[in-house]
Symmetry: C2
């Protein structure tokens, strides 16, 4: 069994603990948390420590804290020459303290508190400072997911920015859609099958081939009708910018 210690008790840490609990190849020996609190039912409370001096020796230390805290947490670790990884999409490998062997273990997914998720399909993006450490990290990753990727810091940065477009920005468009429904007394639920199908379409079509709508086909009368329908300035601005961008994008290609 590969012995792992998790440092952090947030949302990602909790989902990782739940995933590793089902793994045969990995054992979580400790979880470092600032306070002695319940983290998940899948963790024996006795494994939770709040004092750096209580850390036992592990094969891998996973720092799962906010980006701002990675540097200071990694420098506080009371040991050296161990394999220490963070789970951030945007932080570079170099953010970790030099006294340990560095790596990244980035699960590219959106985690919702209290909503369980099938880890098997989640892409785990791995990077290690030393090639000799990659194998262990890969073994740990494959013990919970079938989707393991070797991704360097530059690629990970690109993925993280792209993820903002397809996750954060997309969800914001859902929010604007919801707002338009509320303002016009129609249930947002009616749009949910469309939202799901729009995402599922990508399994068979490229987004370029899947693009439809008035902007794509340059249907100016529908665009004009939509613009005059939208009285909310924010919605109207976003509508115009994205419509123009789709129209120009088509011309460029």
């Amino acid at each position: 069994m590969i012995k792992i210690t998790i440092i952090g008790s947030g949302n990602v840490a909790q989902h990782l603990i739940d995933a590793f609990a089902k793994s045969d190849a990995v054992e979580i020996i400790q979880v470092f948390s600032r306070t002695q609190k319940h983290i998940t039912d899948n963790l024996d409370p006795q494994k939770i420590i709040t004092d750096w001096n209580a850390l036992a020796e592990a094969d891998l230390y996973i720092i799962s804290v906010s980006d701002d805290a990675i540097a200071s947490v990694s420098s506080q670790l009371p040991f050296k020459n161990q394999l220490v990884v963070h789970t951030s999409g945007s932080a570079p490998l170099s953010l970790l303290d030099d006294k340990n062997r560095k790596g990244v273990f980035y699960p590219l997914q959106t985690f919702t508190k209290g909503k369980s998720i099938d880890f098997k399909t989640i892409p785990l993006c791995l990077e290690t400072q030393f090639e000799s450490d990659y194998k262990l990290l890969e073994k740990v990753a494959y013990s919970i997911s079938e989707n393991v990727q070797s991704i360097d810091s530059h690629q990970r940065k690109a993925l993280h920015v792209a993820a903002v477009f397809v996750n954060n920005f997309t969800n914001y468009l859902y929010q604007l859609g919801n707002e338009i429904c509320q303002e016009n007394h129609v249930s947002f639920d009616i749009l949910k099958p469309l939202i799901l199908e729009t995402a599922e379409k990508l399994l068979t079509l490229s987004p370029k081939d899947a693009q439809t709508g008035p902007a794509k086909r340059n249907d100016l009368s529908t665009i004009k009708a939509h613009e005059s329908f939208l009285s909310n300035e924010n919605q109207s601005t976003i509508y115009k910018i994205l419509t123009q961008s789709i129209q120009n994008h088509g011309k460029k290609l």
Copy 2:
């Protein structure tokens, strides 16, 4: 059996014919097409007509043609006082010619040529000029879907605009995400589980509660890092506008 004639042979018409083929309550008696061509395996080619004079009497005529053509097609119909509906999300009921009883039968979904879809979950948005016609239209709708909605022209317009946000614009964000991946030599496939989960999250959370990311938490250092990462002007413009909009939206609420 309710007798239906479909006028049009495009993408939506084809999906409707496939759906009605499985219905016990409805029979498609004719399909009007400009040319005698193969439409779907589920249609007896002898039912395809290309001459208005060959139209037989039906209980319901469904005009499924492009928005621009609805008015002229409905005025060409060689009969009067029949129930005639269109399938458009953006066209008003009034676009149909006055000589027949009008209605709308709008399936709110994105239809991909050649990709079959489970009609049962597709919202069918119905409207009729006369209340007495609603029951028949409802019966037809329930024969292929469990999701039947009474939606007036104003509500349908709102749904159609909202659908542009959650479908066309969302797909465009997928396209930009794909572009960022390609430019940085990383596979877009890695983002697909995230895209699916972002959509599926809406089944348990409102989009407002599901919103995460640097803009939402006002993480200025990550936003700055993303902005300097994006060298493509179009991507950079969309990133800034949507980030600002998310930040301001949070303040307003």
